[in-house]
């Protein structure tokens, strides 16, 4: 036991004496949360819009005001001709142009034209939907009495404000834990190989399992610090609630961290240099997490083969579990499947990496 504690202490020295590592470890979650929270976002906010109003009657002015007041749009300018409108698109000044036909209020079947810059198709679809909704709402207000049309009442569950943070906070947690646990652990072990210190450690009575555990534990602890940072930041800065049990959330995170650590160990048995370890964890872990965990792109829309592949990405299961517990506030029974899959992965990976860990050079 004394051997073990002294080994763990040594690992902490390594981490904290390397300013770069310390910075990466402690600042990365903060930077990622702030980046995703404020900079990289798919939410529609204050998109520049232009309006070509050919009637300028009471109704179109009201609609203009409503569009202006919406937090989704910001009125860039009022244009007077199609030619000006086209020019604005070409210069990229606006993403949407709303065109009101002449004598709008007095024409019974008058239609409003919404032009959108569809270079980003997803954004264009969203913009048109928002725009149409605002116009339709105004129309309903005006024609409330006459309208007999069926109006659906929608309720957005779990995330009524449709905040992106609800989606990316679990994603960032999945990403950070893999980065810290898998990448840092594998680099840590491979570094001993590279520096030749592994040779000395092997020719010592130290059991290989102690070497592995001592390498993993500091990163497990640090990743818990990171989880705490992320949760605090998202709770206080991004107003993401923690609806379910905090204990459950932390337990799932520990389980996922263990899976990540095992992945790191496995990588360290394959890689011989620190660069190789970094590349493998970067390409084999980061990319699938970004692309296949459901963090950025919905898995349901992917071709079957990618959907199958996504099943072996641990982050996918972790993100599902975190969303269930944190955002939906579901109890432990509802994430049994995810927990089971992650546990199975941990067992298989531990078995593989301990078996592959070489007691000789």
């Amino acid at each position: 036991m004394k051997q073990f504690i002294s080994f763990v202490r040594k690992e902490f020295y390594h981490i904290f004496r390397d300013a770069r590592t310390t910075m990466i470890l402690l600042l990365m979650p903060v930077i990622l949360i702030i980046l995703f929270g404020y900079a990289i976002t798919t939410e529609i906010k204050r998109v520049p819009i232009a309006i070509f109003d050919q009637s300028r009657d009471e109704l179109t002015l009201k609609m203009t005001d409503r569009l202006k007041a919406s937090e989704y749009f910001e009125l860039y300018t009022i244009v007077d001709s199609y030619k000006d409108a086209q020019a604005l698109f070409r210069q990229g000044k606006v993403h949407v142009i709303v065109v009101f036909p002449p004598q709008y209020a007095s024409t019974p079947d008058a239609q409003v034209q919404v032009l959108a810059d569809a270079t980003d198709p997803n954004e264009a679809t969203q913009l048109i939907a928002y725009c149409s909704a605002i116009i339709a709402e105004q129309l309903r207000g005006e024609l409330a009495v006459e309208s007999k049309a069926v109006t659906p009442v929608t309720t957005l569950l779990y995330n009524p404000q449709m905040k992106g943070a609800y989606n990316f906070v679990p994603g960032v947690m999945g990403l950070i834990l893999i980065l810290i646990c898998a990448m840092m652990t594998s680099i840590g072990i491979v570094k001993e190989k590279e520096m030749g210190t592994m040779e000395v450690l092997l020719v010592s009575p130290l059991k290989p399992i102690y070497i592995i555990l001592a390498k993993a534990i500091p990163y497990l602890l640090l990743s818990m610090v990171n989880i705490a940072t992320i949760l605090l930041l998202s709770y206080f800065l991004l107003d993401v609630p923690i609806k379910g049990s905090l204990l459950l959330l932390v337990s799932v995170s520990v389980l996922y961290a263990i899976v990540s650590l095992c992945l790191g160990l496995l990588i360290s048995t394959v890689a011989d240099t620190q660069q190789a370890a970094m590349l493998i964890s970067g390409i084999a872990l980061m990319l699938p997490i970004m692309l296949l965990s459901g963090m950025m792109f919905p898995i349901e829309n992917m071709p079957d083969i990618l959907q199958w592949f996504s099943h072996i990405v641990p982050a996918k299961w972790y993100i599902i579990a975190v969303k269930d517990v944190m955002i939906k506030g579901l109890p432990a029974v509802s994430i049994l499947k995810e927990v089971g899959i992650l546990s199975l992965m941990a067992v298989v990976l531990v078995f593989l990496s301990v078996k592959r860990f070489k007691i000789r050079l």
Partner: protein, 306 residues
């Protein structure tokens, strides 16, 4: 403990190790006695490090067997790892840990403390103790080796494996290092040390000259030098480069190598007759200042002759 029954022997029987097509060790056999300071002398690539790794259980030989302290290097891996000290050729300590932290770490890894075995490492460690709060990476080459030796010794091993401990160390520190090995030997520790420096060979009890994975000769340094059966001459002149070529072209030259400030020359035949012809030959080549004196062979001469 092992030291009391004095079975700290090393037996190496017909060890062969291949890396792909390269034979690093070729049917190598050696017997090293308890408490012996044994030197493996040979150039880079001779297979010294491979042999160390096999003996310290880090590598498996392709064929042959070996034992350390009567323990088989394959079967009794755990027990051997408890009883040997190993200092790899490359500096293999933690550069970002201080001197004291390194020593402390290795002491605890071997389930002991610095205090417990301080008497063993005192001579060595006391020299670097003034710098104990300095990071190991910031030490000079000689101090690094002293620290590495302290770390390899801290658990009082029965057998010590030192792979080129003095490579890259200044001559004064090298000499000090060998003084330490002498003191350790007196404690009954078997020491197997490798070095590419032939001049260090004389500090060993016995040496083995190895080249290309084979033992060329095993004997005491004195024995090895005594077995050198030719007369050896040191030849000096102003224009040394030209002299080397001319000496090699002399019909009766057996071998001629550049050794520091002189060329070491052996002839096919000995005797006044040949010597006179050599002098005439050199005079004919235009040398006025050649000095030619018989010398005692060094280990390096013996190595070159093998």
């Amino acid at each position: 403990m092992g030291r009391l029954n004095m079975n700290n022997e090393i037996h190496i029987n017909h060890i062969t190790k291949r890396y792909g097509d390269v034979e690093a060790l070729r049917d190598l056999s050696l017997e090293i006695g308890s408490g012996e300071l044994f030197g493996l002398i040979g150039p880079d690539g001779a297979g010294k490090t491979t042999l160390f790794r096999i003996l310290t259980t880090l590598l498996l030989a392709d064929s042959g067997s070996a034992s350390v302290c009567g323990l088989d290097v394959v079967k009794d891996l755990k027990e051997i790892r408890r009883r040997v000290g190993y200092m790899p050729g490359r500096f293999s300590l933690y550069q970002d840990l201080t001197v004291e932290e390194n020593l402390n770490f290795f002491a605890t890894v071997f389930n002991t403390t610095i205090e417990e075995n301080y008497d063993l490492v005192r001579d060595i460690y006391s020299q670097i103790e003034p710098f104990k709060h300095r990071r190991a990476g910031k030490l000079s080459g000689g101090m690094k080796q002293k620290l590495a030796l302290s770390c390899a010794l801290i658990h009082r091993p029965d057998v010590l494996f030192l792979d080129e401990p003095t490579t890259g160390v200044d001559p004064v520190s090298r000499s000090e290092f060998w003084d330490m090995l002498d003191r350790l030997k007196r404690q009954g520790i078997t020491i197997l040390v490798s070095t590419p420096y032939m001049d260090e060979a004389s500090r060993c009890d016995r040496i083995a000259l190895v080249r290309s994975g084979e033992c060329l000769s095993i004997d005491t340094p004195v024995g090895i030098r005594a077995s050198y059966d030719r007369r050896l001459y040191a030849v000096r002149s102003i224009s040394m480069y030209k002299l080397l070529g001319d000496l090699r072209e002399f019909p009766d030259t057996n071998s001629c190598f550049a050794f520091g400030d002189a060329h070491h020359l052996t002839l096919r035949k000995d005797g006044e007759d040949v010597m006179r012809r050599l002098r005439d030959y050199l005079k004919g080549k235009g040398y006025e200042d050649v000095s030619l004196e018989p010398i005692e062979p060094s280990i390096e001469d013996c190595f070159m002759a093998l």
